[in-house]
């Protein structure tokens, strides 16, 4: 039956294993704690973008409000640990459950909307959340932020150490990828894709489309919440601006640039955008002695170009390139075979 899976969906383990190898080997080459921080953030953000990829690429629903769910996770974790000295792990679970409930209720209400209006509604939710964390300053520290969030520790292992935390975060990313892949590689994933192709036909086949949209919406919200908790414990300080619409937009861009129809695309997009940010900054500073300003222009330009010329994202092109290389290899091998045969 595993064969059936491969026939239906292609191989899972090959890309999975390659990513795993990359993640395991990277620390050998990365000596600076700065790159490590970037890699950790890529892991954390990947969690959200994987959820968004499920929501956007598979269920076809847009969200410009996931920074809010990211924030709920971060603040539940932050407040419970920093103000009430609760256990970080329990806080994380509370955050997840709370996010699930909130997003389920919100999802039921807003997922009836489509396209632009869904985008607007999710933005509104993000703004309301933002104002609430500013307003509930007794708990959240308001605009001055919440300080003193402890770092995690796991069985005596201090995850405050960036290297340990790096492995921990990426371990979670792999678990989430596996979980999401399992969903995609089942009839649930199939029905999500079918919603994308024809919502009305899916409905006539007996699928309660609305229900599945809401479930995927809250699942992606839960991923975001988990990411938020990890973020809070990693940075140890949280303030409202990190959870504003601008971050939601950034997440959307990551997913779209990477390739919205693939979970690998989400991870790839997250990594590319994060490094792109650093790279533009580096080039700007080193060669042109400018900072900040250029970044945003280049950034906008890249969004436009990718959307215009590579609407399926980078992962699509990588896949095609891979196929090309493979076909060339096969041809090459055949040629070699032929020449050796001739030689013999």
């Amino acid at each position: 039956m595993a064969k059936l899976d491969n026939v239906l969906y292609g191989h899972l383990w090959r890309p999975f294993a390659s990513l795993m190898v990359i993640v395991l080997l990277l620390p050998l080459f990365v000596k600076s704690s700065y790159i490590l921080t970037v890699l950790i953030l890529i892991g954390i953000y990947s969690l959200i973008s994987i959820g968004l990829s499920l929501l956007l690429g598979y269920a076809g629903q847009i969200s410009l409000g996931h920074a809010a769910f990211f924030g709920i996770g971060a603040y539940v974790s932050g407040v419970l640990t920093a103000k009430y000295a609760g256990s970080p792990w329990i806080a994380m679970v509370i955050g997840i459950v709370f996010t699930w409930l909130v997003s389920y209720v919100i999802g039921m209400a807003i997922l009836r909307l489509k396209g632009h209006f869904l985008a607007l509604a999710t933005m509104a939710i993000n703004i309301i959340f933002f104002i609430l964390i500013l307003g509930l300053d007794e708990f959240t520290g308001g605009a001055s932020g919440l300080v003193g969030i402890p770092s995690l520790s796991l069985f005596q292992l201090n995850l405050g150490n960036p290297l340990y935390f790096y492995f921990f975060v990426w371990f979670i990313v792999f678990v989430i990828i596996l979980f999401s892949m399992n969903i995609i590689r089942s009839n649930i994933g199939r029905l999500l894709r079918s919603i994308h192709d024809s919502e009305i036909a899916t409905e006539t086949l007996g699928v309660n489309v609305a229900k599945y949209k809401v479930i995927i919406f809250s699942l992606s919200a839960v991923y975001a919440s988990l990411a938020g908790s990890l973020y809070a414990h990693f940075i140890s300080f949280i303030a409202p601006p990190s959870f504003y619409i601008t971050f939601s937009i950034l997440l959307l861009v990551m997913v779209m640039v990477g390739g919205v129809h693939s979970i690998w695309g989400a991870v790839l997009g997250t990594a590319i955008i994060m490094f792109l940010n650093e790279w533009i900054r580096y080039i700007g500073q080193t060669y042109f002695h400018i900072s900040g300003q250029v970044e945003i222009v280049v950034y906008g330009l890249i969004i436009i170009l990718v959307m215009m010329f590579m609407p399926k994202g980078l992962v699509d092109i990588l896949e095609r390139l891979w196929k090309k290389i493979k076909s060339v290899q096969i041809k090459g091998a055949e040629k070699r075979k032929m020449t050796t045969e001739k030689g013999a």
């Binding site: 080459f29 700065y34 001055s144 932020g145 790279w279 900072s291």
Partner: protein, 389 residues
């Protein structure tokens, strides 16, 4: 054809990406190589400011200051054979980016970090500085007990005491408080509440506004209901200026006090012709020409003139904080201290007190912030700052 284009595009992107990783990773090494060859020892000082984003109204001048000092340093040549290099990062008013920048600075081996523009960001990067045990020269008011933090800004109570002094002197007892709902806006009120209690001043109204809002008439109307004798506003520009204009157009005649975040040229431009009752807690920097002759005046004048010459605009208090922070480290280097630990020892145990642009700094008690001697209440006359004393 189309495929070929896409393939090439992808190739370009891949190269870009690889260069990216390489670039980010190797920055420190290449730079040390370049500079190391001809100048011997290099000391790096990190600076984290908000050159762009909403807090750029404050961070912009700080970034300029860094550029100015670097230029001066390059002209001067090495100090005691040591070359000082300033590495500045723009965190775009984004705390996460500031943390990344902090990590980057630490991995590049800076001996101290100056920043960040905002209080909340400073709190975000503070744990990293503590962990790496390098001095953090905080240019925004922070409250912490960590000992390698040096607060260069005035604490909120130092600033607000300027206003309270005035209130006491003029026997004003009922005050309305208005602040922006951002990290800068919210830190003033707790300090004021404490001082107000001591001096029997009643806070009759408290309103807040969104930092990016375009109209504060509603808040001011709410305040008017309570008949205060003065209004204190704690906000950055442009919010600060919009409040002032709404204040004038609503016909208020009571005095309005604004914070140090309004003590800049942008604010004056905003309130042109609407500045009758406005007083701003500002640096003596803004009115240095009107000051009586003193060492302080000379110091401030030197900084201001250099800044004006370079950028054609006036520096503000936030620029001064950044300037002070970097100068302190330069002082330490001048004394031959080139490691983070030595610098801290030097500051606390040898320098002890330092006459900075923004006010005297007591380095044995570095969390107190600059003293009030650099501050004054300013008025605006003919679109110019006017020294009040």
């Amino acid at each position: 054809m189309k495929k070929a284009v896409k393939g090439r595009m992808l190739l370009a992107l891949l190269i870009v990406f690889l260069f990216g990783i390489a670039g980010c990773g190797s920055q420190s090494t290449t730079q040390t190589d370049n500079k190391g060859k001809d100048q011997g020892k290099v000391v790096k000082i990190g600076v984290i400011v908000a050159e762009t984003g909403p807090a750029s109204t404050l961070g912009h001048a700080q970034a300029n200051t860094v550029k100015l000092i670097q230029k001066e340093l390059d002209q001067q040549g090495p100090i005691n054979g040591t070359k000082i290099q300033l590495i500045m990062h723009d965190y775009e008013t984004n705390d996460t980016k500031a943390v990344i920048a902090m990590d980057k600075l630490i991995s590049e081996g800076v001996v101290a970090v100056v920043g960040a523009t905002q209080t909340s960001t400073t709190m975000a990067i503070l744990p990293k500085a503590v962990q790496a045990n390098i001095p953090l020269m905080a240019t925004a008011p922070v409250s912490t007990d960590k000992e390698n933090v040096y607060m260069l800004a005035h604490s909120s109570s130092t600033i607000i005491s300027q206003v309270v002094d005035y209130l006491v002197k003029h026997n004003i007892k009922k005050v309305a408080w208005l602040n922006a709902r951002d990290a800068f806006g919210v830190i003033g009120l707790p300090a004021f509440k404490e001082l107000a209690k001591q001096h029997d001043i009643e806070i009759v109204a408290h309103e807040e506004f969104d930092a990016t809002a375009s109209d504060m008439t509603v808040q001011l109307t709410n305040i008017r209901k309570k008949n205060p004798e003065a209004v204190i506003v704690w906000s950055r520009t442009p919010g600060a200026g919009i409040v002032a204009r709404n204040f004038k157009s609503l016909g208020f005649t009571i005095p309005m006090f604004q914070s140090t975040a309004a003590a800049n040229k942008g604010f004056i431009e905003q309130v042109q012709g609407n500045s009758d009752n406005i007083m701003v807690v500002g640096s003596k920097l803004s009115v240095v020409d009107q000051l009586p002759e003193s060492d302080q005046k000379k110091r401030i004048l030197a900084f201001r003139d250099a800044y004006v010459k370079e950028f054609g605009e006036e520096p503000d208090l936030f620029a001064a904080h950044a300037y002070d922070g970097i100068q302190l480290i330069i002082e330490a280097v001048k004394a031959g201290k080139t490691t983070a630990k030595d610098i801290q020892n030097f500051l606390k145990n040898e320098l002890k007190e330092y006459p900075a642009i923004s006010g005297t700094l007591d380095l044995t008690n570095p969390l107190k912030g600059a003293k009030a001697d650099g501050l004054t209440l300013l008025r605006i006359e003919n679109n110019q700052w006017k020294y009040n004393q």
